[in-house]
Amino acid sequence: MALVSEDPVLAGNLKKGIGESLDFVQITYFDSEDSFLSDFTDSRTDIILSDHRDHSARWKTFLEEILKQDSDSLVIFIVEDIGRGRSVDMIKAGAYDVLSPASIGRIQPLIHKIIRDIDDKANLRYLSAEKSFSDQIANNSRSMLSIINRAYVYEKVNATFCNAHSIGVESIIGKSLSEIWGEETFESKIRSNIDLCFLGNTVRYEANFDTPMFGNRYYEVVFRPITKETGEITHLLAETFDITDLRHSQQIVNDMEEEFKRLKTNLPIGFLRCDIDGIIIHANSAFLKIMECEDETSIAGLGINEFYTEKGLFEIHLSMLLNAKIKTFGRVQLFTCNGNEIACRISGFIVSNESDKPSFIDFAFEDSSRELMLENRLLQAQKLETIGALAGGLAHDFNNILATIFGYSEMLLNEIPRSTPSAEKVSKIITAISRARSLTDQILTFSRQVDQEKIPVNVVEVLKETIGFIKSGINENIDIKEDILNTDVHIHADPTQLFRVFLNLMTNAIQAMEEESGTITVKLTVVDGNSIRHDLNKAIVADDYVLITFEDTGEGMYPSTVDRIFEPYFTTREIGKGTGLGLSVVHGIIEEIEGEILVSSKKNNGSVFSVYLPVSSGHHGKEEKKEISKRLLFISGNRYESRVLSLALESSGYELVYASDLNRFLKLISEKNNIPDIIIYMDDSEEIRPEDLINIYSGNKINSPVILISDRIQLQSAEKLVNSGIVKQQLIKPVSLREIHNAIQISLI
């Protein structure tokens, strides 16, 4: 407080009076206004008590000067007479109060009040500054902040909160949470957490909320209890952080990580990280799969060179790589962890550190075994095609030569009397020609230069007959398991040729298990043409394929054998134990009906032959039979084999009669109406032997032409029949429908 007066007495009294009762007030005395003003700028004076009893007008400039410097200054003037207009002017001009000497006693309570006011004002100013700070903080926070009371009502919210709801503060304050967020959200996502907070816990949780302004957002919500000094919790502070972007970026990171993981796990490219000496540090799952390794630890620390089949090759690759930084090595033969040989396309990349020194080598391994297998298969097919063309041409020329020999032999036989040694010798020539003819026929079948006579045939039936045929003649140690579809499956083929295919594959299987007992598993299923597109490696010609597999537990084959198995005259058997044509003929027959045969085999692990044949669509079996109305009499030793042949002939329109024994045969030919047009005699027939047939014919009981079907190894008994002159046509097994058709037609001349 400053006391300004020219009257030292008044000043002394005032100072004394005020100082006694208000000891916390510091009083500085100035004897003139000028001396006060000269000091004022620096001073921190709250109250200025100025004596203006002299009626001068200086008070105005004095007051203005003071208020200019500090507008909060409280100026109290002491004047002679309060009632005058001057006092009013003083108040108007900004003085705090005006006192007269008479009312000077009021000075003490006035100062009391002033000081209280000053304190309040200072407090208020402080508080308002504080409030402004907290508002700044609260409103500029990116989180929604609110104070909630126990009735779940908002008492305070920040600007962010209002923005999020795009409404003003006044529309939120006093509203309940369920009004703002909706009843359902409040009940399901908020209420229980608030209750928990009012029990004194800081509650933190994440949830997504729908906001009118920003739509569905993810929030992290924290409820902090606001505890009073009494320990009572009346309110809580709710902080709601928008973590949507965080969530999204987290999701992106997660997705990327997941994607990478998927790529790493599912990409069929083996990845390997090695040190610069080629020692494995890390491998991905594709590598483990390609290389048939158990897990990563089983190969960690191994050198890649240990997988190479060719010693020293990796070292060459490594030096090439160190020079080139990045290099692809083409197909490399590798051993898998299981010791199997595979081919991989390998690429290597040098990974360098900051100082450009190689620190790692990354390798990519692509399994090219399938590619190699397909190429190989194509190569085999081309080879077979070439051999086929060569063999076919040869067979063609050979048939010309055979025709010449046959013709002259017959002329010779015509010229010399029967039953002479010379005639017998010529018969032997003719029998040999039949054998040669059978051979050229097989070669032509292999080279697909013989048209098969195709008819709709139930492949299931033919397969069952073939199995029956095989079972009738095998050793009991060999078990044949059947897993055959129990329905008719029609394909377009020659049944006798199918029989030949199945017979051949099963005979091979048996021979592969010759030394010991074993099992042949025959399966027949129908598969979707589309699903086998990759396996077949050739055009798919039907919606469905019948798949017949023959699996044996025999000795198996080396890959080098498998590669050549369909080549003619390629045989693993001893010379003379098979023609070496069997599988090549099988291949030819299957190719001709647009099927495919595949082999998989491992040495000492058995073999599987898979035959795919296109199922004929539309007509299912018995379509209209051609009316040939010729009666054929079958004399056969094996019912299965003759069944297949008769299957073929029946569908071609012939009427078939069977004679299983001599009595039935004699009875048949004694009835006029039943006399057959042709007799088909298979020389494995034990009930009716060649001699019986010759006897019956020599007695002129019958003169129907005989077609003899003989086995290569039973030619001796066949010769007798040929010699006797009753045989019109001689066919050597296996006989195709076309052959027997031709034989029948020629015999009927």
Binding site: G393, N399, N400, T404, F406, G407, L444, V450, R738
Partner: protein
């Protein structure tokens, strides 16, 4: 006696056929391929053509077609021994084109002669 034209590129086989036909007193003409066959064919004296199907130059099927065109009453026997496109197929095609009989090689000459006699005797009876 009836005249027969043998069209066959294999010389030995042609010779064998010729001998056996001459033994049956037929008049025999020979051609080693389709072109020559068309040159040697004389509608007036040739009653039958025995032709191989697969030959260099003009093949047997063309021979059959052209000769049938010139002389529809001609008798034709087709023979084939496989190779290139499948004899079964060719022989059936030959039959469709008008061959009276087909014989796959190697065939029985006795049966062929029998058939020839039959075909030509029927001709004579007409």
């Amino acid at each position: 006696m009836a005249g027969i034209l043998i069209v066959e590129d294999d010389k030995d086989l042609r010779e064998m056929l010729k001998i056996s036909l001459l033994m049956r007193k037929y008049t025999v003409l020979e051609a080693s391929d389709g072109k020559e066959a068309l040159l040697k064919f004389r509608p007036g004296v040739t009653d039958m053509v025995i032709t191989d199907l697969i030959m260099p130059d003009e093949d047997g099927l063309k021979v059959i077609m052209k000769i049938k065109e010139i002389k529809p009453s001609i008798k034709i026997i087709a023979i084939s021994g496989g190779g290139k496109a499948g004899p079964g197929n060719y022989l059936n095609l030959a039959k469709a084109l008008g061959a009276d009989e087909i014989f796959p090689k190697p065939f029985s000459i006795n049966e062929m002669i029998k058939k020839i006699d039959e075909l030509l005797n029927a001709e004579q009876r007409d």
